[in-house]
Symmetry: C2
Subunit: 304 residues, 2 copies
């Protein structure tokens, strides 16, 4: 039934139409700020946007997708997208229209204009989060995407970006999150001093991922594993009174700039500085790799 | 003294010189195959190449760097590069010459023509490796670089690429390894059937990183932590006879294609299929993220 409905809808074929130009403008920050919208490109990102949209509408929250545009060929290839899009406005468009809208050379037949979700720090803290990933001046869209994706995989409750970090809604960053952007709350533009004081008040341990940190992540994982796995063992009695942070406690990880690492004020605000051990000759870990290891260490300690 | 020597060397200023054209051709696979050379670009990669070169020459092995080219401005900014380059041939060149050689828009003032190191599988197995990272049809240069870098950080003994994987010496892949390419042996173009049989003969456990695997990486880490941390605990007695692989044993991890994952024959050749748990809504892990978590789990089990 809805198939017949869709094929009766007019095909968008004019790449110079206002609606097409407006979507294309979302590649720029000023248009995103002005409209509160951004563009998701390609089947994977649009699928996750549509799933998030459905859940939001079912919950009585504002929808995520304003309008999705797809070629008939794409819908024939991926009919589940047409199913998912029932509640959103899906319009058929030509390849030329999609190419004119998209930042990528080939958006693979589908894009969606989405509403920027902007939860506040208050919203996030009200959920009593156990695991947060904070990006402090992370500038590379690819790194930001990797960290957001790792946070999603590790089951983090939210991702927070300080004001000087990359705009997570720019097309390259959106692509590099591969749909994870729609899976968990992302708070942007946060002032760091405000953030650290709020985290402290909420009783959340702040851990700085820092190659020069005095706490060794492996040692913390060992302590945590012992508490969890061998609570009756005599080994625990050997632990010093302050053996460092407990990974199973509510935690916010701070991840720093790819070139400079965390700044002095960011390091100073942390309860502990934690180093991921480097076993080989690598000088340091890429921030995305370090974030993956840190977030998974916390997830393991908290979830099992 | 050597400063005086270098400033007396002729400045290369002709971007159309044969030597410049030959370096530029190394962006293509056929020139790399023909010459056995590749190009490292930028201070970080060239620094690691020069360090590896020095170590090789000191060991009586063939050098790594054939010739390095830098601008005077780059050497003024990073004088340690001039120090490191003593044993290699360092030539001064103009920005135009470097731009004509390099694949990147801005090679940041320094490039090096390097010899492709091609250790054999025999060479690697003769070192009795404890940890190997195997890329099976990993096609994206960025993913290959992330995996190589994670292998370096985790202290893996070597990285192996099967014949259908990306060429790790292509400019984008070299860049994405950020110097780790010079830190550990990389065996390329390996036939998978041959590889799996050789690994088996060498007594190395083959673990397939597979989202559908029946072994849970967290459970394996728990077992390993218990053996290591609480050997006298009664908890070990509860472990079933075949509790899966022991992460502390010599291990080769198989990482598959980014879209399809590991192929049937690759999965069949593995002793166990191991899944990295996904705690959030992410559909699956990026192969680079999964490799990081797997290699670090092994490193932790083997090194502490």
């Amino acid at each position: 039934m809805h198939d017949a409905g869709r094929s009766a809808a007019p095909l968008m074929s004019n790449p110079r139409a206002d609606r097409v130009k407006e979507a294309a403008k979302l590649a720029g920050r000023s248009a995103r700020l002005k409209t509160g919208r951004f563009l998701a490109e390609g089947p994977q990102a649009v699928r996750e946007a549509l799933v998030a949209h459905r859940a939001a509408v079912a919950d009585g929250r504002p929808g995520v997708v304003v309008e999705a545009y797809a070629t008939q060929a794409c819908l024939d290839r991926l009919p589940e997208l047409a199913e998912l899009a029932d509640q959103a406005t899906l319009r058929l468009a030509t390849d030329e229209v999609l190419a004119a809208m998209a930042d990528t050379v080939s958006p693979q037949g589908i894009v969606a204009v989405c509403r920027i979700q902007s939860p506040s720090l208050d919203d996030v803290l009200a959920t009593r989060p156990k695991l947060l990933a904070v990006m402090c001046e992370v500038r590379d869209p690819g790194n930001a995407g990797t960290i957001l994706r790792a946070a999603d995989s590790a089951g983090a409750d939210a991702v927070i970006l300080t004001a000087s970090s990359v705009d997570i809604h720019n097309p390259k960053a959106v692509r590099s999150t591969v749909g994870s952007l729609f899976h968990l709350p992302v708070v942007s533009g946060v002032d760091f001093a405000e953030l650290s004081s709020r985290l402290r008040t909420a009783g959340i341990t702040i851990l700085a991922a820092d190659g020069y940190g005095s706490q060794d992540l492996d040692a913390l994982q060992d302590s945590s594993a012992l508490r969890r796995l061998a609570p009756v063992s005599g080994y625990l009695a050997q632990a010093p009174a302050d053996a460092g942070p407990r990974l199973e406690d509510p935690t916010a990880w701070l991840f720093g700039n790819e070139a400079q690492g965390l700044a002095e004020d960011e390091l100073a605000a942390a309860d502990y500085r934690v180093a991921v051990p480097v076993y080989g000759q690598a000088e340091s870990l890429n921030v995305g790799t370090a974030a993956t290891v840190c977030l998974y260490a916390s997830a393991r300690a908290q979830n099992r």
